[in-house]
């Protein structure tokens, strides 16, 4: 029973980290209608930022500044935000699919850097010994995980509150107006490009924060953490939960990560280890089928977009 509880804590830490990334995607896609196919790129930038800044010095690797983790997390958000600026400026004025292709491209490029720029990323070996905050306080592994869970909960709670406030503010209203009818919003003097860029950068910063927390939680980040499968998982989380709804984004993250972890555990138990590569493939196929079914049968997700009314406005 103790083991199950300990696993549950571990599971929730990861699920909520992905929930944070999913909240970032929800701001971009759910509220601003920006199609980001490079989620993993922004996640990886954040993860490597924390790895480079907060880990102890290591031979043949740049960085290792032993900085405190909270500072690393802020830097992770900034690094992902800057990456988003670089992709957003040339593409956000164009048709929505161009952003999709460009974000796909930046994710591929970041994956190549993760794999090949060994002095920065450690290549296939990755970067190790990434610390967690306040590790000295905890001797017991479970207690340490429990503390990390509390911290992640606090961060995701703050992000949720901030996002809810933002989408209910005039800023959020303009964002949805642009998503629904750009011409109408522009004719009222709203600069669609600027609003889109803001939403894209803030969303990417949240993805970077998720990546930074992930690196700190696992203690390791490698080229395998920059694969496009993660982008796909985050998208499935958002679609399953219901895009345009922040509760849905977090709920979807927990549900889909649960399904992913369970199917992985199930296949590892049932199939012999020689089939590990094929079991991994089967896992992706399963999640893909879930996405296909949700898209076709319940396109709004578990909880669809709620009608957002600004604070103080009369609800009809």
């Amino acid at each position: 029973m103790m083991n199950v509880a300990a696993y549950l804590v571990f599971f929730l830490c990861l699920a909520l980290i992905f929930g944070l990334v999913c909240l970032g995607l929800n701001l971009q896609w759910g509220f601003a209608g920006l199609f980001n196919v490079g989620v993993v790129g922004f996640f990886a930038v954040g993860a490597y930022a924390v790895a480079i800044l907060c880990s102890p010095p290591a031979a043949d690797l740049v960085g290792g500044f032993n900085l405190p983790v909270p500072l690393g997390l802020v830097a992770a958000m900034a690094a992902s935000g800057v990456t988003a600026l670089v992709v957003g400026i040339p593409t956000l004025r164009l048709r929505e699919d161009y952003l999709a292709i460009a974000t796909f491209g930046i994710a591929v490029t970041i994956q190549l850097v993760a794999l090949n720029f060994e002095t920065l990323t450690g290549g296939t070996h990755g970067r190790v010994s990434i610390p967690r905050p306040l590790t000295s306080l905890f001797v017991d592994r479970v207690e340490a995980n429990l503390f990390f869970l509390a911290m992640t909960l606090a961060i995701i709670g703050a992000a949720y509150w901030a996002l809810e406030t933002m989408v209910r503010s005039p800023w959020g209203r303009v964002l949805r107006a642009i998503r629904e009818d750009e011409t109408a919003a522009s004719s009222l003097g709203k600069n669609a490009f600027a609003y889109r860029l803001q939403a894209f950068v803030i969303g990417a910063a949240l993805m970077g924060l998720g990546g930074g927390l992930y690196a700190s939680f696992i203690g390791y980040v490698g080229a395998d953490d920059a694969l496009p499968t993660l982008t796909f998982q985050i998208w499935v989380m958002l679609i399953v939960g219901g895009s345009g709804n922040n509760k849905g984004a977090v709920l979807g993250a927990v549900a889909v990560w649960g399904l992913w972890s369970f199917s992985g555990w199930f296949m590892a138990t049932v199939l012999p280890s020689a089939f590990a590569v094929r079991a991994g493939a089967l896992q992706v196929i399963l999640i893909g089928l879930v996405l296909a079914l949700v898209l076709v049968l319940r396109p709004k997700g578990l909880i669809g977009e709620e009608t957002v009314v600004s604070r103080g406005a009369a609800v009809p």
Partner: protein
């Protein structure tokens, strides 16, 4: 570095560019007629290659047939079995695309959310790729393990007979497609839907038929690209996914909807990749097309041959 090395890089790039062109034509047609960026298009390349591989091993298991078909045709590395396998792959890939459209993309189109198709295609891409991993594993496969001796070509340049055939076949397919689009009823209907789908529909054009033709042609050309990659390089489950960025970059570079643009874009991307490898090394090859893409989007987002909309 000597001039020969640069010329050889341009020649190799043109060969790769020809295969990119075949894939980019499908991307550009899907984008222009079905109006979405199809992230699953690369998988038709992968599946085309593996369909041919499956057909080849089926032929090899059938002794009488392989004896009748005979060995390689000089000077190429392959013979009739691969030609038959390629035709099988073309038909099978077109069928795969039509099935995929009938059970999945048609429903997403009906939902009237343009981007649902893009998300759906991204999911379909990962599922299709992993189905190949499920069937064949992740290790590379080859049509034949024979090593082909390159022939000399011009001042110290080398090219294999298979590669010359690849470029020639691509040119022939593009010419055929041009004739199809300009001289046949269906080709004209496709161009009509590309310009204005609503007007095409009220003019009595069979839009559903045009959509089916678009899928079938795109997947068939992609299958040819897959077979050619299997012939000249190797087959891996990730070939299509890895080519996705070059395909999109080529289609956008040439101008969305333009078949010649896609061919031109494919050649430019292929040659830039190949030449850039000499300068920055092979590790970052896949990022070259991203650099080219960002450059076009900044300078001329409608592409070289595209009209401003």
């Amino acid at each position: 570095m000597t001039l020969t090395i640069w010329l050889q890089a341009i020649l190799d790039g043109a060969v790769i560019g020809a295969t990119i062109s075949l894939g980019a034509i499908g991307v550009t047609l899907t984008y222009a007629i079905l109006r979405f960026a199809n992230f699953a298009h690369g998988e038709f390349i992968t599946w085309g290659g593996y369909f041919a591989l499956a057909a080849l091993s089926a032929f090899a298991g059938w002794r009488d047939l392989s004896a009748w078909l005979g060995g390689p045709i000089e000077p190429f590395s392959f013979g009739w079995p691969l030609i038959l396998a390629a035709l099988t792959a073309i038909l099978a890939s077109a069928a795969l695309a039509l099935i995929l459209d009938a059970v999945f993309f048609r429903r997403l189109r009906r939902a009237k959310i343009a981007i649902a198709s893009v998300i759906g295609s991204f999911g379909a891409a990962l599922v299709l790729r992993n189905l190949v991993v499920l069937g064949y594993g992740a290790d590379p496969e080859y049509f034949s393990r024979e090593i082909q001796i390159a022939v000399h070509f011009g001042p110290g340049l080398r090219i294999t007979a298979d590669q010359i055939l690849l470029v020639g076949l691509t040119a022939a397919l593009v010419a055929t497609l041009h004739l199809f689009l300009t001289r046949t009823q269906m080709g004209r209907a496709m161009r009509g839907v590309r310009e204005n789908p609503d007007l095409a529909a009220v003019s009595g054009i069979d839009v559903a038929g045009v959509i089916r033709a678009t899928w079938a042609i795109g997947a068939a050309l992609a299958a040819v690209a897959g077979v050619l990659i299997g012939l000249t390089i190797q087959l891996r489950p990730s070939i299509g996914f890895d080519l996705l960025l070059p395909l999109f970059s080529a289609a956008i570079l040439g101008g969305i909807g333009s078949v010649y643009g896609a061919v031109l874009g494919g050649l430019v991307i292929g040659i830039s990749e190949s030449v850039a490898v000499l300068v920055i090394g092979p590790e970052y090859r896949a990022a070259i097309s991203f650099g080219v893409l960002i450059l076009i989007l900044l300078v001329r987002p409608q592409g070289i041959l595209g009209a401003r909309t």
